[in-house]
């Protein structure tokens, strides 16, 4: 069971982690993009933190949708609509809930990733954030079917996301700004895959607390 309180703390932890990793993410984006991914994500989640208190009393679905709306209207760039859609769709998927079962949590994440897919149309190994999410969802689904507890399920998912993120290093980008670099994009870790991993890891840590 995941409470509304935990969801709020997840968002808070994500904001803190993205702020702490702002320069790291921007540096990753300098190598194969336009050096703004850290700034973009930090700006967006700062806004989310401003908005959060106003929707605190609403249900989880509503909180996540507000998060999505806020990201969409403050991040810009490619990651703004992608993460924005992620949270909008995840909020819609578990609308009106005040707490979540492990299956709900999976539904939530899956719907979010579905949103990324529809918006950005990434394929596996295009060197995007999807390369972190796709293995994470698959691992989570497997873990759920074996009857693990919430923490274990998420640990499995985070480990897969981390591996997916690292797997982006040797890839040549085929989506987003990095794709214009052609072969020069090889050898660098994708910034969006990295922020996605950080976000999922923040969820695990929240649940472990």
């Amino acid at each position: 069971m995941i409470t509304k309180d935990q969801i709020v703390r997840w968002l808070e932890k994500t904001a803190a982690v993205l702020q702490a990793n702002k320069t790291y993410l921007t540096d990753l984006d300098s190598a194969i993009g336009d050096a703004d991914h850290g700034t973009n994500m930090d700006r967006g989640f700062k806004k989310v933190m401003e908005k959060l208190p106003t929707v605190f009393d609403n249900d989880i679905g509503n909180i996540l949708k507000t998060t999505g709306m806020t990201l969409i209207s403050s991040v810009g760039g490619a990651s703004g609509p992608l993460y924005g859609t992620f949270f909008m769709r995840s909020g819609m998927a578990i609308a009106a809930k005040e707490e979540l079962s492990d299956e709900d949590l999976f539904t939530l994440l899956q719907a979010g990733v579905e949103g990324i897919l529809q918006r950005g149309r990434p394929n596996l190994e295009d060197k995007t954030m999807y390369d972190a999410w796709a293995p994470a969802l698959e691992a989570m689904q497997g873990a759920l079917s074996t009857g693990m507890g919430t923490v274990e399920v998420l640990e499995t998912a985070v480990a897969a996301a981390e591996q997916g993120m690292k797997n982006t290093i040797p890839l040549q980008a085929r989506k987003g700004r990095a794709s214009y670099l052609g072969e020069r994009s090889i050898g660098h870790q994708d910034p969006g895959a990295t922020s996605s991993y950080l976000m999922l890891n923040a969820l695990l840590e929240t649940v472990k607390e």
């Binding site: 700034t39 969409i72 490619a78 703004g80 950005g120 085929r174 989506k175």
Partner: protein
């Protein structure tokens, strides 16, 4: 970094304030969220044309708002796509019921944000269509990249479709014309120097005194190749070849189906230029290159066109789609027909482009 700015965080805002102060008769500026609309918006019965993108390309897009061109422009932070709420609010401000056409430069950020905006506007009952501009011949394939970037043809598309909307074209006709003009256009850019994004505080790339970048975009990014510096005739010949001799280019674009309320895919192929074509030739400064040097480029470009039997029917020469203070230039050629020429010649009254009014 030396620039005529105050705090780097307020650059776009203060520049918009200056524009608003200077031209109250021509434009209205909205600050939360940022967008610029013509002073007489919404124009009754007319399809509204909206574009937008990162700031730093002035006069594009804010300078193209006015009679015969854009109804609204959405400026993002410098070189960063604007957000959907800007486009959505802008659409509400300019729509007169005849619908809104988004002209979107093909960068993942711009594309995704405009898509969200289109959905929001549609959900609000606004008729909306969205056409991509993707004319940068420096990008060769669309299978392994995000596709050709939107560069110089944007200016030409905005001018021609703006005139058509003014002349009473409906939304579908405007969209068809925009798609056609884009498919008729190709561009290539070069840089002699980098530019400096205010928030970054240092030049985006370093270029030696004896080098230039060939095949750049418009965001201060390095180009396809770094080459030893050459004469204007040699550089122009290379640029002309990259555009005039470019092969057919195919890709899939997403357009909005306003009946169904969904996105659908469309296969498009741009045909190469051929002898007998008539074109609009657009020689553009990236910002820091003086217009005098653009004339030397035009001189050679005219010869290269003539050598291939391509006739320059109209031209545009100056800084219209820039990358801050970058030195360099771009060449855009757009094939013309009677419809295109008629709307090119039609009056336009904006801060950045004006004739016949």
């Amino acid at each position: 970094m030396k620039k005529l700015i105050n705090d780097v965080d307020n650059v776009v805002r203060e520049q918009l304030e200056g524009m608003a102060l200077a031209h109250p008769d021509a434009i209205k500026v909205n600050y939360d969220p940022y967008f610029v609309v013509r002073a007489d918006a919404p124009v009754e019965g007319k399809v509204a044309i909206i574009s937008g993108g990162g700031s730093g390309h002035e006069p594009m897009h804010g300078g193209f708002v006015g009679m015969g061109m854009l109804d609204g422009a959405c400026p993002g932070e410098v070189f960063t796509s604007p957000t959907p709420d800007q486009m959505y609010e802008c659409a509400k401000a300019v729509d007169s019921g005849a619908g809104v056409l988004f002209l979107v430069k093909n960068y993942t950020g711009d594309v995704l944000n405009f898509e969200t905006a289109a959905e929001l506007a549609y959900a609000d009952g606004i008729k909306v269509q969205s056409i991509l501009v993707d004319d940068d011949a420096a990008v060769k394939d669309s299978l392994y990249t995000a596709g050709r970037r939107g560069v110089g043809a944007t200016v030409i598309v905005e001018k021609i479709v703006g005139a058509a909307a003014e002349a009473g074209y409906n939304l579908g006709q405007c969209a068809d014309l925009a798609r056609k003009v884009n498919m008729y256009g190709r561009s290539i850019g070069i840089a002699l120097t980098s530019c400096t994004v205010p928030a970054a505080g240092k030049p985006t790339f370093d270029l030696g005194d004896g080098e230039f970048e060939f095949g750049i975009g418009i965001h201060g990014e390095p180009g396809r190749q770094r080459l030893p510096m050459k004469s204007v005739d040699e550089i122009t010949a290379m640029m002309a070849a990259a555009v005039l001799d470019d092969e057919a280019y195919s890709r899939t674009v997403r357009e909005w189906d306003n009946e169904e309320g969904t996105w659908f895919d469309k296969e498009l192929t741009d045909e190469p230029f051929k002898s007998g074509d008539s074109v609009i030739a657009f020689v553009n400064s990236m910002g820091g290159t003086p217009v005098s040097e653009l004339y030397a480029v035009y001189r050679k470009l005219a010869a290269e066109c003539e050598a291939r039997g391509v006739k320059i029917a109209r031209n545009l020469i100056g800084p219209y789609i820039t990358s801050l203070e970058m030195q360099g230039c771009s060449i855009t050629l757009v094939k013309t027909d009677d419809e295109i020429l008629k709307f090119w010649d039609a009056p336009v009254n904006t801060l950045g482009l004006r004739w016949g009014a």
